[in-house]
């Protein structure tokens, strides 16, 4: 579903990604872990071209996405993204946040979008907040709305960029629950996170990144139970 070949990304002289090769198949929940500055977020943001790769190729459903003349907007509609800072649109109500993109992109009529929005809000447990504004919600609620907003475009892939890192500890659970539910429904997910519990429980595969490369990749049992790489061992000994 997603194939990444020899991906490089540098900001000026700083090389953040130094050659990543990875293949993600449908229905996988890939959890990316690693120390700060290891390039996890940049890798994720390259997947929907919020960062333009310096070199290398990315294929989604066999179609190259980082070539000139590719319609980036159409590709992005297949991929939902959830941000660390939620990035809800503060001037719109929760329902408008969810329906804006599907309606403006003519994916649904307004009525269909609202119906879908109600369904999604129910799924994330926030049916009663449809007419509130983002500023009236707690962090955990905002992030659940952000997930619903991304799902409204009916994406094939969901990307999560440290979705719980900006939350108060007691709100992490509610967001992870929504994500677990999503994983069980068979959604293909790539999750950058520091939640090792989530990685172990929900991940079908764990990638350990450091210094802009994937140092180790394997099932959660392999990575957490029997890490092969010294850097992985070192990192896990600090976070677990």
């Amino acid at each position: 579903m997603i194939t990444v070949k020899n991906l490089h990304k540098s900001f000026g002289k700083l090389n953040v990604l130094c050659g990543i090769d990875e293949h993600i198949t449908q229905g996988e929940v890939v959890v990316v872990i690693g120390p700060s500055g290891s390039g996890k977020s940049t890798f994720l943001r390259c997947l929907n071209l919020l960062e333009e790769p310096t070199a290398g190729e990315i294929y989604i459903d066999g179609e190259i996405i980082n070539a000139p003349k590719v319609n980036v907007n159409r590709i992005r509609q297949k991929m939902g993204m959830v941000f660390q800072q939620f990035n809800l649109f503060p001037h719109l109500t929760i329902m408008e946040n969810i329906t804006l993109a599907p309606v403006k992109l003519k994916k649904m009529t307004k009525e269909e979008a609202i119906k879908k929005g109600e369904e999604l809000l129910q799924r994330v447990g926030l049916s009663d907040k449809a007419n509130n504004y983002p500023a009236q919600l707690s962090g955990g609620q905002k992030q659940r709305v952000a997930i619903a907003r991304a799902l409204a475009m009916q994406p094939e892939i969901m990307l999560f960029d440290e979705p719980t890192s900006a939350l108060d500890p007691e709100m992490v659970g509610e967001v992870l629950d929504v994500m677990k539910d999503l994983a069980r429904s068979g959604m293909t997910m790539v999750v950058v996170t520091h939640e090792m519990g989530f990685a172990r429980e929900v991940g079908t595969r764990v990638l350990f990144m450091d210094g802009g490369v994937i140092m180790e990749s394997g099932s959660p049992e392999e990575i957490f139970g029997n890490p092969q790489n010294d850097r992985t061992k070192n990192f896990l000994s600090k976070v677990l």
Binding site: R74, R76, M81, F83, N87, F89, P90, T93, A101, K104
Partner: protein, 243 residues
């Protein structure tokens, strides 16, 4: 006792003389020869010129603001030169250049040409306000819009601009107020606005006090009305803020 009485009567007399003088002046300045009509027409002209200039100013300001924000070097250059030139020259000079040079052979109504001149002037200031407003919106908002598949223009229009408008609204109001007062120079190209009418009455009657006072009061009231009504608009814009 008598001294106080004399003083008091004297004072009363002075006030009466002063008051009847004011009344005479008032008659002379505003009633005689229907001079109040000059002022009334002047109010209409000031409002007309300001309103059109504001609309033109916002339009130009938005375009130039986007140019200044653009990554395209040519557009960026245009935006920079425009604001530099307009901000670097007096508005009277610009008004006169536009009326006597640029539109020398175009026989439009004077107030339309004046509106264009003030619009061009205001556009430079508005563009800087708009640029600041757009920069004030977190990059994450654009990223969220784009990640949903919205195009750059759609993201700008539906997500960034509505939020930016709220942030820059007070600064825009300020610019409108400055603009209204700035139009007091249209007399230079022979348009009879409030200020010119007052000036005309002053010259005709040799009475400077009342006409100029009237002019000041009228500008003040116009701007007060504008400030109060824009205050309501701002309140409506802020309805999504929960503070």
């Amino acid at each position: 006792m008598d001294a106080i009485k004399t003083w008091w009567l004297g004072l009363c007399n002075d006030v009466a003389v002063w008051w009847s003088g004011i009344c005479d002046d008032f008659y002379l300045c505003f009633v005689k020869e229907d001079r109040y009509k000059l002022i009334l027409d002047g109010i209409g002209v000031t409002i007309k010129v300001s309103l059109f200039a504001i609309l033109i100013g916002i339009f130009i300001g938005f375009l130039i603001g986007l140019c200044s924000l653009s990554k395209n070097k040519f557009l960026n250059f245009i935006g920079k030169v425009y604001t530099d030139v307009i901000r670097g020259t007096p508005s009277v000079t610009q008004l006169m250049i536009i009326y006597f040079v640029v539109f020398a052979n175009v026989h439009w109504e004077k107030w339309i040409i004046a509106s264009i001149a003030f619009g061009i002037n205001s556009g430079a200031y508005v563009s800087e306000i708009i640029r600041a407003g757009i920069l004030s919106i977190d990059k994450g908002q654009t990223e969220a819009g784009r990640s949903l598949g919205l195009g750059a223009v759609q993201t700008m229009l539906h997500i960034v601009v509505p939020q930016a408008v709220k942030n820059i609204f007070p600064a825009l109001c300020n610019e409108f107020i400055v603009l209204i007062k700035e139009t007091a120079i249209v007399g230079y190209i022979g348009i009879m606005d409030i200020q010119k009418a007052a000036d005309f009455i002053k010259s005709a009657t040799f009475e400077p006090f009342l006409p100029l006072l009237a002019s000041a009061i009228i500008y003040f009231v116009l701007i007060k009305i504008l400030t109060v009504s824009l205050g309501f608009v701002e309140k409506a814009l802020r309805k999504s803020d929960v503070r």
